[in-house]
C-alpha cells in the first residue's frame, strides 16, 4: 500500500447516508482524505492504495493521477488540460513550476471556494461552465455573487484588488491563490 494523489469527481447527494465523496476511491475500503473545490464537483484526494488499485484507478478517464515526486517539474500541457477541464485556472503554469507549487496554488483556490460556500450560503457550483465560466468577468456576475466573493476574500484576509471590473474569474482565482501563498498542507499520508 502507498499514498498517491488523484484529481477526481465528487459524487453523492449530500445527505447523511449519501454524503459527497470521491468517486471510485471511497468504494475501495482504504483510508483516503480529500479537499474539495467548494461545491464544484471535483476534488484532490490522497488515498492509501495497493499497486493494483492504483492501476485500476488511473484507467478511469475522469481520474488524473498526480506524479508521486511532487518536486519534479510539471508536464505543462497535460497539467493545464487536466486542471482546466475541472474549471481550475491553469494558464499560469509553466515549465519551471513543480507539482508541489501548483498544488499549493490549487489549494488556495479550493480553500477560497470552500469558505465561499459558507459565506454565500449556497451549495451550488458557482462555475457551471455555461452561464458562468472561468472567462466570466467580475462585473458580469450577479450582485450577490460579487458581494459574497468580496466578503470571502476579506474574511480570509486576502488581497481583494482583483475583485473588480473586467477581471475574469480565471484571473481572480489565481490572484486570490497568490495572496493565499505557498502554504504547506497535508492530505492523508502526503505533505504537500
Amino acid at each position: 500500500m502507498a499514498w498517491h494523489l488523484y484529481l477526481c469527481p465528487i459524487i453523492g447527494a449530500g445527505t447523511f447516508t449519501d454524503q459527497r465523496h470521491p468517486k471510485y476511491i471511497s468504494d475501495l475500503g482504504v483510508q483516503w482524505s480529500m479537499i474539495d473545490y467548494g461545491f464544484q464537483p471535483f476534488c484532490l484526494v490522497a488515498a492509501n492504495v495497493s499497486d493494483a488499485q492504483d492501476a485500476a484507478l488511473v484507467l478511469n478517464s475522469d481520474v488524473t493521477k498526480i506524479p508521486d515526486n511532487l518536486d519534479s517539474n510539471v508536464a505543462v500541457t497535460a497539467t493545464q488540460n487536466a486542471l482546466e477541464s475541472l474549471q481550475i485556472p491553469a494558464n499560469w503554469i509553466n515549465a519551471s513550476n513543480t507539482y508541489r507549487q501548483v498544488l499549493r496554488i490549487v489549494w488556495g483556490m479550493f480553500n477560497f471556494f470552500q469558505r465561499y460556500s459558507v459565506i454565500s450560503g449556497t451549495v451550488n457550483p458557482l462555475i457551471d461552465g455555461i452561464t458562468i465560466s472561468l472567462s466570466t468577468q467580475f462585473s458580469s456576475l450577479p450582485l450577490k455573487v460579487r458581494q459574497d466573493l468580496i466578503a470571502t476574500a476579506q474574511d480570509l484576509n486576502l488581497d481583494t484588488s482583483s475583485l473588480s471590473g473586467n477581471s475574469t474569474l480565471r484571473q481572480i482565482l489565481k490572484a486570490l491563490a497568490d495572496s493565499w501563498g505557498q502554504r504547506s498542507f497535508t492530505l492523508g499520508g502526503i505533505t504537500i
Binding site: F16, Q19, R20, F185
Partner: protein, 201 residues
C-alpha cells in the same frame, strides 16, 4: 481558554437540557439521557440527533471528545462536533460507527461531505475526539487517527451526535463524558484528576 465538560450524571430526561441546541434541519429530535449516558430518543425510524452547546462561547480552535459505548453491533453511530452552528446547519464532525467506516467530515448548509475516511469500526468504550485548529482537522477513534484539511467553517460551537441507520436502534451506541476545550493545545481533562478534576473547577 474555555473548557466545558458534561458527564450527563443527572436524572433520566428526554433532552440534554436548555444549554444545548438541537439542529432542526438534521431531522432528529433531541437525544435523551438514560442511566447517565446519551442515546437516541425516537425508537421508530432511523434518525440522527445533532446538537451543540449554547454557552460558553468557544474560540474557533476546538478539541471535543467523548467516550463511546457499543451495546449492539448494528448500524449505529456517534461522535463529536466542532464549529457547529444553526445557520442552516453547519459543522465539522468526527463520527464512529459500530459496523462501518470512521469518518471526518463537514456539513455546510445541511449538505454532508466526507473529508477523510478510515475503515476502522467502533469498539466498545472508545474515546472519539475531534480537534480543529485553523484549517487542520484531526479525528481520533481510540488509537486510530485520521486527518483532513478544510477551510469552509471558521467559527461555531462544540457539540455531539448520536444516531442510527436502518438496522440500528436506540441504545445501540451511547456517549458519555463529553468535554470540549478551545485554545488548543490545552487538554486539562487529560491532566491529573481527569474529568472529575475539571468538573470540580
Amino acid at each position: 481558554m474555555t473548557a466545558f465538560p458534561d458527564n450527563f450524571n443527572r436524572a433520566n430526561n428526554a433532552s440534554l437540557g436548555t444549554n444545548y441546541t438541537v439542529v432542526p434541519s438534521s431531522g432528529g429530535p433531541s437525544p435523551q439521557i438514560l442511566s447517565n449516558r446519551v442515546r437516541t430518543n425516537n425508537g421508530a425510524t432511523p434518525q440522527g440527533d445533532w446538537l451543540y452547546l449554547n454557552t460558553p462561547t468557544f474560540q474557533k480552535d476546538q478539541d471535543v471528545a467523548a467516550t463511546a459505548f457499543v451495546n449492539a453491533a448494528n448500524d449505529s453511530y456517534c461522535g463529536t462536533l466542532a464549529r457547529a452552528s444553526n445557520a442552516a446547519f453547519t459543522t465539522y464532525y468526527a463520527i464512529a460507527d459500530a459496523i462501518s467506516a470512521f469518518g471526518l467530515g463537514k456539513v455546510v448548509t445541511g449538505t454532508f461531505t466526507t473529508i477523510t475516511s478510515d475503515a476502522t469500526v467502533l469498539a466498545n468504550n472508545t474515546l472519539v475526539e475531534l480537534i480543529v485548529t485553523g484549517t487542520n482537522l484531526t479525528a481520533k477513534q481510540g488509537t486510530v487517527t485520521i486527518t483532513g484539511t478544510d477551510g469552509a467553517i471558521t467559527s461555531g460551537q462544540p457539540g455531539l451526535v448520536v444516531g442510527w441507520n436502518p438496522g440500528g436502534a436506540d441504545g445501540d451506541v451511547e456517549l458519555d463524558d463529553w468535554v470540549a476545550n478551545d485554545g488548543i493545545p490545552k487538554y486539562p481533562w487529560r491532566q491529573a484528576g481527569g474529568m472529575a478534576a475539571l468538573i470540580a473547577q
